[in-house]
């Protein structure tokens, strides 16, 4: 295992990445084909990385669980991608994007990483435009921008409400070009189930072919995980149904530290839940908060009324009231908590779920009046259509209802400045790592980070690792390889043959989801976290005793896939609660009820908790390692959005 060292460069912040790049070892073009790199997951981070490594001349082998890389969940990102181009001349700069991001994350991320991200943001836009990503434009032919939560400048580039789709298809097209060149070999419908570690270095993976059930091992010189986040631990989330933690969890159990697992983002603008059969929640882009106004009835008795019958004076535009400076554009964690507290007060609207109305209004009536339906349609049409198809209500006529839902996980595998985990040769990119968003991610930053990692950072740092290492030849009969394959097989056997098969994977998934939503969601406290940990331990043992998987393991078996993923979510849920319990402060999305200001704002404790919590696997008693966060250039302040 490599030393727990963040490898952050020193010197002036502006020069760190350039200087670091210069210090990285290179591999000459003619030698690159001698190196093999495995990439797991081909969303934004993975596809962009495959494309870039292929273009450079490396041999890449990639896997994804979908039936095509074009279907990764990056595709669902709606609102946009930030870049500090300052095209709007509104005072934006690399420094401001850096500052907004670190402040948005409530000062729980590394200065060096975020500055690098802000620097690379402009290159991403250039790259995407040259690939043919059809960003929105002005009539002059110049690129258009819009503003997004947590900032006071207009720096978000967008392609209507489908920015993630267009960026992913851009990365996918570049990756496809490299598949044609023969340098990238891709296999869809495959799931990674184990990391192969030889002489303390990650040297390959074990995957299961989801169609045939065949287990196979794949050897390389290093492995990069681009496997996304774990919001699905909550069962109901905005993630795709297949999104899972299995790859990152295998890495953790093999010795990679897991950082800040309790930092999970609950997104404010989602379509509210309606009932028990619901399988997922749908996000409505945060860009809606640009123009739409959020309100709840002032009086509880109005909650059942048609919103159009509630007069202006009886409406509480609570975000505008509580945060006059940022108003409806406060960061996500703040908006979500405010929404929750309104509903907890009994002023929610919409369907009753668990004895409570879960929803507030997101109102476009004044916008429709001002801009006209056509203009609104052009800007937000697909989002409105989506809302209508889900709820059966016309948002041009009746205000939409929104409620927060788990959406993104800031936590993830701990990585150093080179995006390498604590296992040598095992890298993590995109949402799978923890690196850039601290305790809360700002809107339009996920696409930026995934692509910065994939196009610009990992290709350099992976090359450096390969150039500096020696990799002896390994074949599929190596004892460690066989042991990894064996462990996968025996785990599948245990899932298929529980002693008292009784409940489906979804049964357990809903259980862990409900524990986490209640105790490790928008509000957390010591007592309920302790209780959750006990419940999860019990759930874990019940799972292995009672999990019921029908069908065969050597077959296309979606029940088996789900069972394996739920088993990992249960274990991860445990770690999330352990982490949330350890952090006796509130910061960003992590709201400990004991440490909230009267206004509901997070009260950080920089002196005692100004660290990244990196957890090392140690059975049921994970070990905490602290990476102290130094702020050399920015003074952590109280996050004031008033």
């Amino acid at each position: 295992m490599q030393k727990f060292n963040s490898n952050v460069p020193t010197g002036p912040l502006e020069n760190r990445w350039d200087k670091h790049k210069f210090d990285l070892a290179l591999i000459a073009p003619q030698n690159r084909k001698k190196y093999n790199i495995i990439v797991i997951g081909t969303g934004l981070a993975g596809a962009s990385l495959c494309a870039t490594l292929g273009e450079a001349g490396y041999n890449v082998e990639s896997f994804c669980y979908n039936d095509s890389p074009r279907r990764a969940h990056s595709i669902a990102a709606q609102g946009g991608i930030n870049a500090s181009k300052n095209y709007q001349n509104d005072g934006d700069s690399t420094w401001r994007l850096f500052y907004d991001t670190i402040k948005g994350g409530d000062f729980r991320a590394r200065e060096s990483n975020i500055y690098r991200l802000a620097q690379l943001s402009c290159n991403i836009i250039d790259q995407a435009v040259s690939q043919g990503v059809p960003f929105a434009r002005e009539y002059s032919g110049y690129l258009a921008n819009r503003s997004f939560g947590g900032t006071q400048v207009s720096r978000t580039f967008y392609a209507r409400g489908q920015t993630g789709q267009q960026l992913l298809l851009g990365a996918y097209s570049s990756m496809s070009k490299e598949i044609t060149s023969g340098r990238v070999k891709h296999k869809s419908r495959c799931e990674m189930l184990e990391v192969i570690i030889i002489d303390s270095k990650a040297r390959g993976v074990v995957v299961r072919d989801l169609v045939t059930g065949e287990i196979s091992s794949h050897i390389a010189d290093c492995v990069v995980m681009c496997t996304g986040g774990y919001s699905n631990a909550y069962y109901l989330s905005t993630n795709a149904k297949g999104c899972n933690t299995s790859a990152t969890w295998r890495a953790y159990k093999n010795g990679a530290y897991f950082a800040n697992p309790s930092f999970t983002q609950i997104h404010p603008t989602c379509v509210p839940p309606t009932g028990d059969s619901q399988s997922k929640l749908t996000l409505m882009s945060e860009s809606l908060r640009n123009d739409g106004r959020i309100w709840a009835p002032k009086n509880k008795k109005d909650c059942e009324k048609n919103p159009n019958d509630i007069p202006e004076k009886d409406r509480d535009y609570f975000l505008e009231r509580m945060y006059p400076a940022f108003a409806n554009l406060v960061p996500r964690d703040i908006a979500s908590r405010a929404l929750k507290s309104i509903c907890d007060e009994g002023r929610g609207v919409g369907s009753i779920v668990n004895n409570q109305r879960l929803g507030v209004y997101l109102d476009f009536s004044s916008v429709v009046e001002k801009m006209g339906t056509d203009k609104v349609k052009e800007k937000y049409g697909n989002l409105f259509d989506m809302y209508e198809s889900i709820t059966g209500e016309n948002p041009y006529a009746v205000p939409m209802k929104i409620y927060p839902a788990p959406h993104y996980t800031m936590g993830g595998l701990w990585v150093d400045y080179n995006l390498m985990t604590t296992i040598e040769g095992l890298f993590a990119c995109g949402e799978a790592n923890f690196s850039d968003h601290g305790a809360n991610r700002l809107g339009a930053s996920a696409l930026m980070q995934g692509l910065a990692d994939g196009y610009f950072i990992a290709p350099q740092t992976v090359a450096n690792y390969l150039a500096r290492g020696k990799f002896e030849e390994i074949n599929n009969n190596h004892s460690e390889v066989l042991a990894a394959v064996e462990s996968v097989k025996s785990r599948i056997d245990n899932l298929m043959n529980a002693p008292e098969p009784k409940h489906s994977p979804d049964y357990f998934h809903k259980k862990i989801g409900s524990i986490l939503w209640t105790s490790c969601g928008m509000a957390r406290d010591k007592k309920s976290l302790k209780n959750a940990i006990i419940q999860i331990e019990k759930l874990k043992s019940d799972f292995w005793k009672n999990i019921k998987v029908t069908g065969a393991d050597k077959d296309f078996n979606q029940t088996l896939e789900k069972a394996g993923r739920v088993a990992d979510f249960i274990e991860l849920g445990h770690l999330m609660c352990v982490d949330a319990l350890d952090r006796e402060e509130s910061c960003g999305a992590h709201a400990r009820l004991e440490y909230l200001a009267e206004t509901g704002d997070a009260k950080r404790d920089d002196e005692n908790y100004g660290y990244v919590a990196a957890w090392e696997f140690n059975g049921d008693n994970p070990l905490l390692h602290k990476e102290h966060l130094d702020f050399e250039f920015i003074k952590p302040t109280y996050r004031d959005y008033k």
Binding site: R70, R71, I75, Q127, P134, F135, R160, G275, S277, S389
Partner: protein, 240 residues
């Protein structure tokens, strides 16, 4: 709501399939179509039977994974909607539902309702890209693009690659899919340079994959969940 479901069950690509009938009861009208199938699968697990395999992922109509033919209509009868965006309230007047996979030679059935669509990936690999490498991109605003051109490119680029156009076409043609990608790049100055070669290669690949030709039935645009227009096919034909 109660439904009788006739679902296509097929063990694998080689075996023959058939319809199997199931009943689902007490379905809430706010349940999505796929959530209704989730409930069926929960019942099957309870009975100890193998679940119905169906493709799905984002469940918000953007990933293009879901792919069901419902009562003869790819993605159901509702316009501009993928299967995952259908709700049971849309089926309030129906008692029996026939659920099948996409049917096309180039999309072999993998199991039950899931098909293999790698032919689409190979078509993109044959030329559905702009040949630019990371690092060589110029400043984004150095090339101005008319708003109309950018919008036109966007309207074609929103294809989700689901394959409904193929499933509905009597010739199982992939023309709409191919044309949308060609037109997306053709609308943009940075994509225009390779247009001729791109079109040739992608169309050749489409033919090699066994997709048929377009004979102007225009069913594809009616089932397309993103309402991609057949005018894309006309533009593509002009390039040949």
């Amino acid at each position: 709501m109660n439904f009788i479901l006739h679902i296509w069950r097929q063990k694998n690509t080689q075996s023959n399939g058939s319809f199997v009938t199931y009943n689902v009861n007490d379905i809430d009208s706010d349940t999505s179509f796929l959530e209704m199938l989730d409930q069926l699968n929960e019942q099957l697990i309870e009975k100890g039977e193998d679940c119905v395999v169906f493709d799905h992922d984002c469940r918000e109509g953007i990933c293009g994974t879901c792919s069901l033919v419902i009562n003869g209509h790819p993605h159901g009868e509702k316009k501009a909607t993928a299967t995952c965006q259908l709700y049971m309230r849309d089926y309030a007047n129906q008692k029996e539902l026939w659920i099948e996979p996409w049917r096309a030679k180039s999309f072999p059935i993998v199991k039950d309702l899931a098909v293999k669509r790698e032919a689409f990936d190979r078509i993109i690999q044959s030329g559905g890209f702009i040949s630019v490498s990371v690092g060589s991109a110029p400043e984004a605003n150095s090339q101005l693009i008319k708003k109309d051109d950018a919008d036109c490119a966007f309207d074609s680029a929103i294809c989700i690659g689901c394959g409904a156009c193929v499933a509905v076409c009597p010739n199982a043609s992939a023309s709409l899919f191919v044309a949308a990608k060609i037109n997306h790049f053709e609308c943009l100055p940075q994509g225009k340079i390779e247009t001729g070669k791109r079109a040739q290669r992608m169309i050749n690949q489409m033919e090699q994959e066994g997709f048929g030709s377009c004979s102007n039935h225009r069913h594809c645009e009616t089932v397309c969940p993103k309402e991609i227009s057949v005018s894309n096919i006309a533009s593509m034909n002009k390039l040949l």
